[in-house]
């Protein structure tokens, strides 16, 4: 018994020593980017996002889409014959990690552009590092209004909440008239900003806001106290701002408590899992979104542009899973960067300028153009849930 624990102890300490030595060694990036391209001439890009932890599903979807575009470009001989190499990092959706990775990326001068991160708080945390080192940071999904202003090397493909929520409010008033609106929103940077802008715009357009309830995601599964509050205010419209799993549970509990109102949601809900989770309770839900939907159930009712069609099929073939709005944004980010490198070559400042001039680019995630403040302008695409699927919204 005695020597067994000695041996185990030895094993542990060796493993620890190794890990400490390896850790302190000169910055040993875990290079698990694209296999194949030699160390020689190649355009190096980096991707960082949540590849583990609770936001893993979103990060992986974007990474796959980016790799899909880069594989396509490399198969077609790379950019003017030079292959593209992608280094991938996992920031666990933790701002501290994103900054660690940002420092790692800027330490390698060859990396031209960094794609990431998924959430605004991670992208905001990493922004100063990239801005100081003049390396363009292109986040496919960061929708925080401050992000484009964190530096002139910052780009995002998502319409910031300032524009998106304003358009949502205008849509609601236009479709349902100046009614009584109640909101329930996730206490994250996305949720708080989206709610504030939406609520102010509703008031500006003459609607009345009966109340806004807030919840901390991951803190509890029971929203009944908040729903009972809202029910007492008898709203006509109930806008749920949260992830698809939270929204599904909120809607399910609201229906259980007989909250009678027109339920509306935003782009985060457009997923197969939402329909499964919400089930029958989802019927009649109206969803406003600035990013497209590629769910197979919704595809029959929709006519897609040629390149979107190709993307959806390629993604399904490569990863046996449905493409979603996030992966579409990832794909567009990669193709925009590739075009910019084509124009400006391996010069970061040139790439930045090329990206800034993009005007009504017919991307896979819809037609978009960069305003001079590097914010993105998009048109809304809206849906209604009917018989368990998203169908294009049509005024009833």
């Amino acid at each position: 018994m005695k020597n067994k624990s000695k041996m185990l102890g030895l094993l542990i300490s060796i493993c620890l020593m190794l890990s400490v030595l390896a850790g302190c060694g000169p910055a040993s990036e875990a290079n698990n980017g694209q296999a194949g391209s030699d160390k020689g001439k190649s355009y190096k890009l980096a991707f960082f996002g949540p590849l583990s932890g609770d936001a893993m599903q979103y990060g992986v979807a974007i990474k796959n889409a980016v790799e899909l575009e880069i594989r396509k470009v490399n198969d077609a001989g790379g950019i003017n014959g030079v292959p593209v190499e992608l280094k991938v990092f996992d920031d666990k959706n933790d701002p501290k990690e994103s900054v660690n990775i940002a420092n790692k990326i800027v330490s390698d001068p060859e990396i031209l552009v960094a794609i990431g991160s998924f959430t605004s708080s991670c992208s905001l945390a990493a922004a100063p590092v990239f801005q100081k080192n003049q390396v363009p940071l292109f986040s496919p999904t960061a929708s925080h209004p401050d992000f484009p202003f964190a530096g002139d090397y910052m780009f995002t493909l998502a319409m910031t909440q300032k524009l998106e929520s304003k358009k949502f409010a205008e849509f609601v008033i236009e479709q349902f008239g100046p009614k009584k609106v109640a909101t329930i929103y996730q206490n994250t940077d996305y949720g708080v900003t989206a709610n504030d802008i939406f609520v102010n715009r509703i008031k500006e357009l003459g609607g009345t806001v009966t109340g806004s309830e807030q919840f901390i995601s991951g803190q509890t599964k029971d929203y009944s106290p908040l729903i009972s509050n809202i029910k007492a205010q008898q709203p006509d419209i109930f806008y749920v701002i949260g992830s698809y799993s939270e929204a599904a549970q909120i809607i399910q509990q609201a229906k259980a408590l007989d909250l009678k109102a027109q339920y509306i949601g935003n782009g985060q809900l457009i997923r197969e899992d939402f329909l499964k989770l919400a089930g029958a309770n989802g019927e009649g839900l109206v969803v406003m979104s600035s990013i497209p939907v590629f769910l197979s159930s919704a595809l029959e009712h929709q006519k897609l542009s040629a390149n979107t069609e190709a993307f959806v099929n390629d993604f399904k073939k490569a990863y046996q899973v449905e493409a979603d709005g996030f992966s579409a944004m990832g794909y567009d980010s990669a193709s925009l960067i590739v075009d910019a490198i084509q124009k400006a070559g391996a010069d970061k400042k040139g790439i930045r300028d090329a990206l800034a001039q993009t005007k009504n680019y017919a991307g896979v995630s819809g037609n978009l153009s960069f305003m001079d403040t590097r914010e993105v302008e998009r048109s809304l695409i809206n849906y209604r849930v009917k018989d368990g699927t998203f169908i294009p919204y049509v005024r009833e």
Binding site: G9, C15, P26, L51, D90, S107, S121, G191, Q214
Partner: protein, 328 residues
């Protein structure tokens, strides 16, 4: 084994000087921004872990709310720096004072609680502080966090290059070690250790238990506030997610892993546990499973931590005593 310890103990001063020299040379040997950044974070966590060790290691009071004071310090410094642009002397000291005050207000009524009850109160307090940071939009901008926190600056000289931050935190670490050592090696320190050994006997020796516990709680919180101020001005962006109970628990694991009531143990524990996730970064998904397994294995092999209850000063005195004994 104790022969090695005795020899280590005898030339304690020599070893700590060499370690300090190594620390000073580190940025020249590993110049990349990434390694300097990791070393700076290690330094910050050492200050945090040493301050927690004062409460849990030396005074035996389990506190799972240390990240609350870390957060309070960070937010105090961030708010003062962004709104009033004060130099770092002011923001750091203000952060320490506010964190210390919070510890006093929490400690006075609750420090009569024992063991798991105190652990729960501190855990609850940490969650309350995080929720206040999340909801008090006017002060902390809630989940939006505070942006562009200016780097520490004093009379025109600003610290912003990674290497400057590194030497700044090394100085803070040395200060903290000296402070903890001085407290522990004094009459006050002996009183704290007596409390951790046997409260009833300690009180019978005339030690005012509550006053000592509140005092050590306030000092340790002030140090955590100090580290928080450094974190805020180093990262230039903070939000409530990094000051939750999971952070408290990870600091707690570091001191248990390194060894309670042992300054070298805490330092090693912090370095290993801060670098481990980085080293395992390559394994992407299995990283945290392995982290958990290492924790379990470590507690099986050495439950008292790497350098648990090895008190070098005592070994040194015993060695001198024996030598003196032989002479007499």
């Amino acid at each position: 084994m104790n022969r090695i310890l005795a020899c280590l103990a005898r030339n304690q001063l020599l070893i700590s000087l060499t370690v300090l020299a190594l620390a000073l040379l580190f940025p020249l040997v590993f110049p990349s921004q990434y390694s300097i950044r990791m070393a700076t974070l290690c330094g910050m966590y050492i200050v945090l872990a040493l301050s927690l060790n004062l409460i849990t290691g030396y005074t035996g009071q389990v506190s799972l709310g240390h990240a609350a004071f870390f957060g309070i310090g960070a937010y105090t410094a961030a708010i003062l720096a962004t709104r009033f642009g004060l130099n770092f002397l002011f923001t750091f000291i203000a952060a320490a004072i506010v964190a210390g005050l919070a510890a006093f207000l929490l400690g006075l009524p609750t420090l009569k609680l024992k063991g798991h009850y105190l652990a729960m109160v501190t855990l609850g307090f940490c969650e309350i502080v995080r929720l206040v940071e999340m909801n008090w939009m006017g002060l902390t901008r809630g989940p939006l966090g505070i942006l562009n926190i200016p780097p520490p600056s004093l009379w025109g000289f600003t610290i912003d290059a990674p290497i400057e931050y590194y030497y700044f935190i090394v100085a803070l670490v040395v200060l903290t070690i000296k402070l903890v050592q001085n407290i522990v090696d004094s009459r006050v320190g002996k009183g704290l250790i007596a409390i951790s050994e046997d409260e009833i006997a300690a009180e019978a020796m005339g030690i005012n238990i509550l006053r000592y516990k509140v005092m050590v709680f306030v000092i340790s919180a002030a140090l955590a506030g100090f580290a928080g101020a450094f974190y805020a001005q180093y990262m230039s962006y903070i939000d409530p997610t990094s000051f939750g109970t999971d952070q408290s628990i990870s600091i707690f694991i570091m001191i248990i892993f390194g060894g309670l009531a042992s300054i070298p143990g805490t330092i090693i524990g912090v370095i290993v546990l801060t670098l481990l996730p980085e080293v395992l970064r390559g394994l992407m998904d299995f990283r945290l499973i392995i982290y958990g397994l290492i924790l379990i294995a470590m507690m099986l092999v050495k439950p008292e931590g790497l350098l648990g209850n090895i008190n070098f000063t005592r070994i040194k005195k015993a060695a001198d005593g024996k030598k003196a004994g032989e002479l007499k």
